[in-house]
């Protein structure tokens, strides 16, 4: 009956979202009066999962799983869920989790709700709140199946400490060649750069910056704040910045703590994509820019004057607060 949670790691280390999904699973387990079991794959240490409420860690070490393969990971989760008799499985919203979730759902005959933002509203019927229409609305969805899969939206629940002593158990699911039907040839990951998916802070530039040669000050601000860089759709369409930085309805969603929009007017599609961010700052010359209606803090001013000055101030702030 234990709530099963998949705690993702990278090069052996847990991501922050792993602690968030455990915190969330703890919340569900308390509602349902049951325990939390975390499945880890090739993680170095697992004791930190107890801090956020895991009662048990099922630990899988297998070199064949060093590279992510959705079918093999889904199969490991299926077997763990069956072993634990889990009725609820909690996943993050990482690219890998979203890849394996529908495969897992079919394997377990489980209903799957993605982009869930809060604990279930009721247990019977089992109803969850999720975002829909790319953050322009919320949708209350009932999962009707016996086994349920929840994809938790990033940064929606936060970390909650629960201080459990997690027991540990090794786990060796049976994996066949059929689970490795996708051959990973190469992985090309930016090193030493914060990704939009993991970022607490995102600094984003728009057409107001006039050209790709002016991105130095955006990157500088991102460096100072330990932030990821992002951009609006026209900027990526014009090739000023790579598509991987495009945030908005047809690009990536952003759910950071702080989103700083520089020279972005705030088209409805852009605002939808970044709406899940907690605090939004806009810097724009045009006081009529729609972004001012969506932002928490705004500066009406020329980015070319404001941003370099702000960067200096942020450097001073960081120097005196670190």
């Amino acid at each position: 009956m234990s709530v099963l949670v998949f705690t993702e790691s990278e090069e052996g280390k847990f991501k922050k979202t792993a602690y968030e999904v455990v915190s969330y699973a703890r919340g569900i387990a308390d509602m349902m009066n049951t325990t939390v079991t975390a499945l880890t794959i090739n993680a170095d240490e697992t004791s930190s999962l107890g801090t956020y409420g895991a009662d048990k860690v099922v630990h899988l070490k297998n070199d064949k799983l060093a590279k992510f393969t959705a079918n093999a990971y889904a199969s490991a989760l299926t077997q763990a869920a069956q072993k634990e008799g889990s009725k609820v499985i909690v996943l993050s919203s990482s690219a890998n989790a979203k890849y394996l979730a529908p495969i897992l759902a079919v394997d377990l005959n489980a209903g799957y709700a993605s982009n869930v933002v809060a604990l279930p509203e009721s247990e019977s019927p089992f109803t969850v709140k999720r975002t829909a229409f790319t953050n322009k609305a919320f949708n209350h969805t009932e999962i009707k199946t016996d086994v349920k899969i929840i994809g938790l939206s990033k940064n929606s629940f936060g970390l909650k400490e629960a201080q459990k002593e997690a027991s540990e158990e090794s786990f060796e699911p049976s994996l066949d060649d059929v689970h490795f039907n996708i051959d990973v040839q190469s992985v090309d990951k930016v090193k030493d750069k914060v990704t939009i998916a993991d970022a607490e802070i995102v600094v984003s530039g728009g057409r107001g910056l006039k050209g790709p040669e002016n991105w130095g000050m955006i990157e500088e601000m991102a460096d100072i704040l330990g932030a990821a860089t992002a951009c609006s759709k026209p900027v990526s369409d014009m090739g000023w910045r790579p598509h991987s930085e495009h945030v908005g309805q047809t690009g990536k969603p952003v759910a950071s703590n702080l989103y700083i929009a520089i020279g972005i007017s705030g088209a409805i599609q852009h605002l939808a994509g970044i709406n899940a961010s907690k605090t939004k700052v806009v810097i724009n010359t045009d006081p009529e820019a729609p972004f001012f209606k969506a932002a928490d803090y705004g500066i009406i001013g020329d980015a070319f004057e404001v941003v370099p000055k702000l960067n200096e101030k942020l450097k001073e702030f960081k120097a005196s607060n670190s």
Partner: protein, 248 residues
Amino acid sequence: MKILVCISHVPDTTSKINFTDNDTKFDTNGVQFVINPNDEFGLTRAMWFKEKQGATVDIINVGGPETEPTLRKALAIGADSAIRINTEALDGFQVAKELSAVAKEGNYDLIIAGRESIDYNGGMVPGMLANLIGASFVNTCISLEVEGETATAIREIDGGKETVTAKLPLVIGGQKGLVEESDLRIPNMRGIMMARKKPLDVKEPQGADTETKAVSFEKPAPKGEVKLVSPDNLDELIDLLHNEAKVI
């Protein structure tokens, strides 16, 4: 090569989102419907396979007659024929199940879907469909080549990309990158005329079960007023971010 492109019929990205019937239904009043953008990138990539590699391209949608203009538009862009499974799309599993019956029967080499629709953002149909028919599956696909029985795809991952190979049949969850925005095609008059004569086959559904139910909707709470900070007083902004919002 036989390609099937799954087309969702969704509100245009500029649509204002409202609900009716006590917040249980999406209000279609005054809303323009389009091909789901993630699907349109895939459809355009399918046109490339048609023109360069002689592929045939069928399109499919699960939905009522109101989705036919969207299918006709995809035909006008260049797809060869359309299939509409005549039932309301209720949840991701039901749609995947309905699609799987046609996908199996049609023996497609490649099935292209969008990574998610921009209305319900479920992000589950392509993966479920692949699993139901036992095909390979690549999600968040941003590049796709096919040679013989093998596909080479690039998948977007958090903070980078990954190149993979897979045997056909293959299902992808596609997105921008499969083609560029500037490659998207606006149907011309000839395309529109030809689309009227192309087959649009209406199939009755299998009656697949649903696993989830969209019970109701709500709009986000209205946002408070923006706090304006003078560009000459940037210390105030830093103070607000540090002490009020507590984000730096």
